[in-house]
Amino acid sequence: MAESNNDSLFNLNKIGESKTLGFLGKNWAFLFLVIMLILFSFLGKNFFSLNNFNNIILGISSLLLLASGEAFVIISGGIDLSIGFVMGFVCVTSSIIMRDLNAAGYSPFFSILTGSLAGLLLGLIPGIINGYLVAKLRVPPFIATLGMWGIANGLAWRLSEGFPIGFLPLQVRDIGNAYIAYFSPKKGFSFFIKPELTERKDILSLLKIIPIPILWITFVLVIFAFILSRTKFGQHTYAIGGKVDAAIRAGINVPLHLIKIYVISSFFAATAGVLLVFKLNMGVHTQYTSSYELFAIAAVVIGGASLTGGKGTIWGTVIGVLLIGTLDNGLMMMGLPIFYRYIATGCILIIAVLIDQFFPELVYKE
């Protein structure tokens, strides 16, 4: 290590000996997040409150899912640019199905369930195609998924014809915007169902604890974090990202594994799409300008992954997303325009990689 880095700015050996610095280098994203939370609590009005944290988390929920799926791909040494539009595509299809079934007189429960499942299943198709192109036909991931980016975008557009899809069963919104627990000073605790409050003062003082979508997301993330860190599948993912040849020689069915990984990424995007239906109560095609996939990649990298593969965790990715979300919300609460967040995200992204470049010893020193 020292051999190849002896021209870097720092003397790595010396830094490597300091435990404090080691901890800093390894957990800098987390520490940065904490510092930011403290800073914004002082600078922003009403930043530090349960409701605002709910807002932050709800705001980043799509990104959280997209980035976690992307993490698998990036760890395997690939990249998936199609996720943003796959999300839009699934969001549109799934809401069209819900709307049409509901209009055809099926029960809301059936319509919602069928719509969601169909969306999730359809979302697997782009993943299979991506994976097949990458693994079997050896198309570089950047290109294969960029092609899918255009195709998913076009299809979503075609299906929605540019209109938002409305007229979904009302329960969609109730599910998507509910919380696990409510606490009202007037009526006490209630679970899942919002207490009926009429006074504005009471509505404002209502405490809402843990949004339901976050419960789902956590559930999905925990499973996949487990898969990545504790199972053979996860182990192989790192192996492929580290060195494909070695993985092949070790008997891993690399093409099949890669297909699975792209399917996972696509599945996460589909989940995000279905979640979006529940949150927004309508199907919206992801806008051209929102660059979801790029922000997802940024989050994964801030979370400690490397685009060359073999590195990264779900936990780190979650921190990365939180960092972006908090920054966004904090700047908003401080009254800075949306454009500052682009600058801030850009800078943090570069800093993340620089830290990764110059503290390699620290980051790997367990």
Partner: protein, 322 residues
Amino acid sequence: MKKIVITILLICLVLSFVSMTCAAALKFAFMPGIADPFYFTMEKGAKAKAAELGVELIVGEYPKAWGPEYQVPILKALVARGDIDLLFTAPTSTEALIPVLKEIYDSGIPVITVDTYLGDGDYSKPSNYNFPLSYIGTDNFLGGQVVAGQLALLLGGKGKVFLENTNPDVSSVMDRELGFRAGLKIFPDMELVGVEYCLDVQETAVAQVSAALQKNPDLDGVFGVNVFSAQGAYQAVVSAGLEGGVKIATWDATETLIEALKRKELDLILAQMPGEMGSLCVEWGFKYLTEGAEIPRKVIPGFFVFTQENVNDPDSQKYIYK
């Protein structure tokens, strides 16, 4: 190499003759500003009128985002067909489109601007942008004022309001904002606490309005200036559990918003008359070309305000965008 060159030249020669065909019926072209329900409805209105008058209507591709760099190439490609008798379009920039449309006008195609305009929109005085036959469109500034007034009425003339806008780059929504600000000035107890731009991403609008509600717990009203910001605004209010507590005014009567109004989650929708605009363009254009009629330089079709009271009236239904 020589063979290739000769082949290509031959192909070119043949091709230039292929397209030399002419049609008898009048052909109008419509170039929308961006892909959204407003322009879709306009197209439908124009199509209906065109069918009635026996005019063929060619619609340019809907630009995927707002801006001359998206619109101009499509517009040029549309006009390059060469068989168009009249163009009506919503210019995406008051300045950038002047030379482009001038060139089209110079090549012999009369131009009508609809919904948005060139320069300051006044074609009656001499200027380098007074060549379009007419500007047909809503007075966005006036609309903004009306919304401000109606919102103040709903709130009893007192309260804090927030404006969720889309893109500071778009003249029509900025006019709405300016109108809204001007309208609020009439009510000394109304206060505008903030403006955010969601860049037409609904999720961003949700996040921004949520943050605004967080920052100003005593917020009384939100004005969402277009479909995405309005939908985002009411989503944020619903998710904060404040339906009914925070009044929401919106612009553009899409079915989705009307549905929300019927559910009493919204309070006010200002409907422009895109269908009417499209139909007017075709009608005036037809009259101009066939009868040589003089067209008014500015046609303002007005608008309609939906409230929870009148939304179910049979008379109101025609104002919904479909």
